[in-house]
Symmetry: C2
């Protein structure tokens, strides 16, 4: 029976994809990939694996999600894409949907999979390397040791609803993600709380044009760097 | 120049190792691996990759850490193992040290790397799939969507110092790890707080003998299951 695979492609470096993901992508004729102006990382990863995965005989289907905050609009978008996938599955063709990072974290493929599962098709999640592990490894940092905890925070949303400051003051390591809109304000807040010296900001972790800003260096980021806010991860150690 | 590589082997399934880790392991003659009575996962992963990595011509060095809570004793253990690695590096031989999961999370290889870095040798962290991503993927769960946060909690320690209950009551998804000693008490606490129906417990995520307990099924765990407490991850969704 045809299976829907939500496939993690890892943080960007195509070498940070797992053997299992490569095997699944080899086996699926239909591959959906996320497409946006800001981010072609998943497709780029796939293309740079062309030696391993023969793309000539695949059907590559772009899909875009508007990232709207309107839940009913967003639900409709996902339903439409899930419906496209289901058509292939009904014809007996397994479908892979790519997701950067790991599919269990903020992934469109994961959400699509759950809709497809309700249609009665088998879904499988292929785990991958998330962006904060890649960011930590690039900067040779441990996120946690021994009895330390880790909080992963969608920082734009927490900033908007006023919850970020309390989170930043709490114990344990913090990873701030999804800062596309408020990165400047978040950096100001870190400065105000005297926390910048404990922060490391990694942009495009694992990619060739990766950039790392340690501590106060974050204040030297230029406008171009802020354009990559969406692909930034900030690690705050206590 | 010789390099020390802290290499993530992923959660257990040898297919959940990254292409980069395989390349590095192929290139290193010296491979250190963690050895304990409870856990031979990293070495098992390596052995099942024998088709890809020729182990005949490698020097495999076991290393064990006592997991003592005595910091000075623990520091001495790490120093001794780092010293063994440095001897190889001084002879111009690159060293890989395996770590299950991802090296940025609770990893002995990460801590060893930081000691070796102080000796002036280059260290590199190779990112991998962590156990909670594997657990979420096995149970087809998303850890986070949209504006949700994630807390990764070393649960034995938090239970011991009385901080666990407050964490369990807080917002966002919780991942409880490192429950080797207090799993029974932690499950009782979840029951008391009426949270069991939102919990999923995954043992040996991604391995052939993986077990998943959804919600109240956790109460049916037997003594043998509790022996695998160390390799259990509990995901609590709100």
């Amino acid at each position: 029976m045809a299976v829907f695979y939500a496939v993690s492609t890892g943080p960007g470096d195509s070498e940070l994809i797992c053997l299992k993901a490569v095997r699944v992508l080899k086996s699926c004729e239909i591959i959906f990939y996320p497409e946006s102006k800001k981010d072609t990382i998943a497709l780029d990863s796939l293309k740079s694996l062309e030696k391993e995965i023969d793309l000539e005989h695949k059907t590559l289907v772009p899909c875009s999600f508007s990232m709207t905050l309107d839940k009913s609009k967003s639900d409709l978008e996902y339903e439409a894409i899930a419906c496209q996938c289901v058509k292939f599955l009904q014809n007996g063709k397994s479908v892979a949907m790519l997701s950067i990072g790991d599919v269990s974290l903020y992934s469109t493929a994961g959400r699509t999979a759950r809709i497809i599962k309700k249609s009665g098709f088998e879904v499988e999640f292929i785990a991958g390397v998330n962006s904060f592990s890649a960011a930590a490894c690039s900067s040779a940092l441990s996120l946690c040791e021994k009895d330390e905890s880790l909080s992963v925070i969608p920082a734009d949303a927490f900033f908007r609803n006023g919850k970020l400051e309390a989170e930043l003051k709490s114990d344990g390591t913090k990873v701030l993600m999804k800062m596309g809109h408020h990165l400047k304000e978040i950096i100001s807040l870190l400065g105000k709380l005297d926390l910048l010296q404990n922060a490391t900001l990694v942009q495009k972790a694992s990619l060739a044009d990766e950039k790392i800003f340690y501590g106060e260096e974050i204040l030297s980021m230029n406008e171009r760097d802020f354009e990559n806010a969406y692909l930034s991860v900030l690690i705050l150690k206590t």
